[in-house]
Amino acid sequence: GEAPEENAAGGGDAPAYSTCMVTDTGGIDDKSFNASAWAGLEAAKAEASNISTKFTASNAIADYEPNLTDFAAQKCNLILAVGGLMTDATKKIAAANPNSQFAIVDAAIPDATNVYPLQFDTAQASYLAGYLAAGYSKSGTVATYGGMNIPPVTIFMDGFVDGVAKYNEVKGKSVKVLGWDKATQKGTFAEDFTSQAKGKAISDTFVGQGADVILPVAGGTGLGTAAAAAESGGKYSVIWVDSDGCEVAAQYCSAFLSTVVKSVSGGVKDAALKGSKGEKLDAAVGYKGTLENGGVSLGAYHEFDSKVPAELKAEIDQLKNDIIAGTIKVESEAAPK
């Protein structure tokens, strides 16, 4: 293969460290984990001058293998595969290139010593969001919907439903959750990650049914909900997912009650920095984002800071501590094992 482009900028003494990311079919700006992972690499580059970044997008599942192979051939120092669907391809290519260092977001590959897993127990954070939503709701009805009924999505919804249930249990209330039934694993899905029109239609329906807090877990489709909420003039609010809503969709900040932050970028950045310093990325340890290490969290309240009662905030903080301490267990079929 060809020599990699060694743009060892800054001329620091550390050897050049090239990070190469393969997106899944969502593309580089899916407003979800691909975008977040890329942001992590860019952040790492900003911090360590010996890091260079590069990505290639996959148009189809069949592109994963050649894309990973091409990066291995270019002797990238860290090849990052984004998304659990890349598991099989990563496993195969990592085995074929035992000297390359790989990392994968949202999956773990048990026996591959050169694949560093980055996983997130998102349900923990969305549990807090559920509690927040239930506590904040005036109407006693909250809602959630997904882009597709797949584990990376439903893990948010599981935690959310449990958080609401916890609130009902603690307060003896009966706040209703529309859009997801954890027991049967059935609910409302747009079957789409891009159509904002559909997102708006779904949230309109929820609002019609009385919901005043909505958690969309549907990438771009969720923006339809955010836009409609921002236009509704405070009639209902939205809890965003993945990255802080007020940063990725600042125009709708007035509608974001909070965000279930899944800090893919943080995990990726850590891994890249670690690697660039020559530290070993130990596959057996890996990275698991939890409330404890801040890999997942309930984001800032931003414009709602003054509207969320301090008491509620305190209860949520307490819950967080309980989860970290292990006194409360958040369970989801979709959680990393």
Partner: protein, 420 residues
């Protein structure tokens, strides 16, 4: 010897199983199903159809069981009407009544013990239908003049892209709309030149233009918009336009008169194209060219010129449809964001019998089926969401196969006009 003109009247009895009677039989069957089945399944609780956007306010209310039975019976009645063979001109009315009865019966069952906000449902159906209406209207213009347009999808996409790009760069909604129109016309122009001048197979060229639009917008998106969204991909949003007095009419007002200007444009265009085709010189010539180009040529109509004009006009309309994606529903361009809407519009066009009003109804039907699917999943239907989301597609198949059947396309549709 005198002349007697023999006439063919009251001859042998007409064939019994006419289309009317077959439809009638279908209605009776599904009506019975609804009247008995849905009524049995339905809760005996009031099904409330509220006149607002949510549970509050005035409402039409009916006991779920009763409603399911009554509306089912309505369907049966319409079916019986068709079976006993009422006059032909009542066919459409009875058919619509029958189908409506079935849908209402179904709704009574589902809504029993709950409520369905009519305004919300209607405006959401309309919202989902707008790009389809505009896309299908583009199709109407092209096909009625004899040019098959499979490339609606590409035109919508290019329109959406143009709106986002120009809208952002000029920071003006209406210049954005202009950008969308330009995008739509660009693809239309390629279609026109290649199909009319170079006689390329129209199905081929339409399909390929979709791909071209996908590639070009995707490429430029990655190169420009993704790298600098602020400069290229944050178009201003189109604000709703409230028409004072009219907007206060209950139900209809908020749906039709407090909405995006593009919705008004779409609806007005339906009327304009409908009357234009039927009543104006342009329409007469357009239809003549689409039906019998040689005949049009012999009376001095420029066949190719007419086709160019209409295909380009179609580009304008589809471009507007594209603008709806970026300027109204989304606020930014995304790769392949039309996600097949052009194909649905194509289906609506054929389903609607190549007529503007038909296309409008077909698009609304699709929007409604979509909204209904969302509603059902939101109120916790036990049916998995994937199957609920199939509803609009299955409904379209059933409607096309069961009710519409063969649709007559303009006679010269898809045939290039070559003078020897």
């Amino acid at each position: 010897m005198s002349t007697t003109l023999l006439t063919v009247d009251d001859l042998a009895p007409a064939k019994y199983w006419t289309r009317e009677r077959r439809s009638g039989a279908v209605l009776v069957v599904i009506g019975l199903l609804a009247a008995v089945g849905f009524a049995l399944l339905a809760e005996s609780a009031p099904a409330r159809f509220t006149l607002g956007e949510d549970a509050t306010g005035a409402a039409l209310s009916i006991d779920g069981k009763l409603g399911a039975a009554v509306f089912g019976a309505l369907t049966v009645a319409a079916g019986v009407g068709l079976l006993v063979g009422v006059a032909r001109r009542w066919f459409t009315v009875l058919l619509v009544a029958g189908v409506l009865g079935f849908v209402l019966s179904f709704l009574c069952w589902q809504v029993a013990g709950n409520f369905l906000p009519l305004v919300g449902t209607a405006s959401s159906s309309l919202g989902l239908a707008v790009p389809l209406i505009l896309g299908a209207l583009c199709g109407v213009l092209c096909e009625r003049t004899g040019v098959v347009n499979i490339g609606i999808e590409g035109q919508l996409l290019m329109g959406a892209f143009g709106a986002a790009l120009i809208g952002t760069m000029t920071a003006s909604v209406w210049l954005g709309v202009l950008g969308a129109v330009t995008g739509g016309v660009l693809i239309a122009a390629l279609l026109a030149v290649l199909a009319i001048r170079f006689l390329v197979d129209q199905v081929v060229i339409g399909t390929v233009l979709n791909l071209l639009a996908l590639g070009v917008t995707g490429f430029l998106y990655e190169r420009l918009m993704q790298t600098d969204a602020a400069a290229f991909n944050t178009p201003p949003r189109m604000q709703n336009l409230r028409i004072p007095v009219l907007a206060d009419i209950p139900v209809v007002g908020p749906v039709l008169f407090d909405t995006s200007p593009l919705v008004y444009i779409a609806l007005i265009l339906v009327a304009v194209i409908h009357f234009g085709l039927a009543r104006t010189r342009w329409g007469l010539r357009t239809r003549a060219v689409g039906e019998h180009p040689t005949a049009a040529d012999t009376v001095g109509i420029r066949v190719r010129g007419t086709r160019y004009l209409n295909v380009l006009l179609g580009g304008v309309v589809a471009g507007l449809g594209g603008a709806f994606f970026t300027l109204v529903s989304t606020g930014a361009f995304g790769k392949n964001m039309t996600a097949g809407a052009g194909f649905i519009a194509l289906a609506a066009l054929i389903f609607g019998g190549f007529r503007p009003v038909g296309a409008l109804l077909a698009a609304l039907f699709f929007g409604f089926a979509n909204t209904l699917a969302i509603y059902l999943s939101a109120i916790g239907s036990p049916v998995p969401s994937q199957f609920l989301n199939m509803l609009p597609y299955i409904a379209t198949i059933v409607a096309v196969a069961g009710l519409v059947g063969r649709v007559r396309a303009p006679a010269a549709d898809g045939k290039p006009y070559v003078k020897s």
